[in-house]
Symmetry: C2
Subunit: 115 residues, 2 copies
Amino acid sequence: MVKYKDDMLNTTFSALADPTRRAILARLAKGEAQVTEQAEPFGISLPAVSKHLRVLEKAQLISRHVEGRVHRFTVNPAPLQSANNWIDTYQKFWEQQLDSLGEYLKHTRSKEKAK
Amino acid sequence: MVKYKDDMLNTTFSALADPTRRAILARLAKGEAQVTEQAEPFGISLPAVSKHLRVLEKAQLISRHVEGRVHRFTVNPAPLQSANNWIDTYQKFWEQQLDSLGEYLKHTRSKEKAK
């Protein structure tokens, strides 16, 4: 289970590490879209967009709905939720550490002023 | 500025797409650590850990503090915050879409039951 979760996080973060793929996901946040609609705003070729869509599909970040020749796409938020959860879990610790450091520095400074 | 932000997100997500690097960040959430302390729990060689640490350092996810021969590491939460913000922004839209779909299905079902 941990291995599966780890693999999924690898795939999700790897898929998000590309600006065109993030832009595709951002476009799909507005609603489902066809491949041709996907290609227009990026000024890249249809095959290039198709390749990015396949990466996102493999990462289970999007779903493809085929109606005849029309391929439509929607976003699956679940893997993104897992990615967010991973960051959230540890971010709390790091922020606590920074808060403690901040408090320590404030305390040290006020002690120095009092001298 | 957008280009810089995009580049930073590429680097952050790419750095997070590896289980050892995520484990190193998770370890650093407990407090700063030396390279040798980093290598122990992963059962991998020191050079392998050093390589991962360089990737994390280049992505500005960690900072290195050198005291003589001792290299200590701490986490920088800022790039993780940006990654989280990116996901958060769009997740809201996708969840709204799923909520609307859920509402629509509930509505359709209750209408069918009423028939």
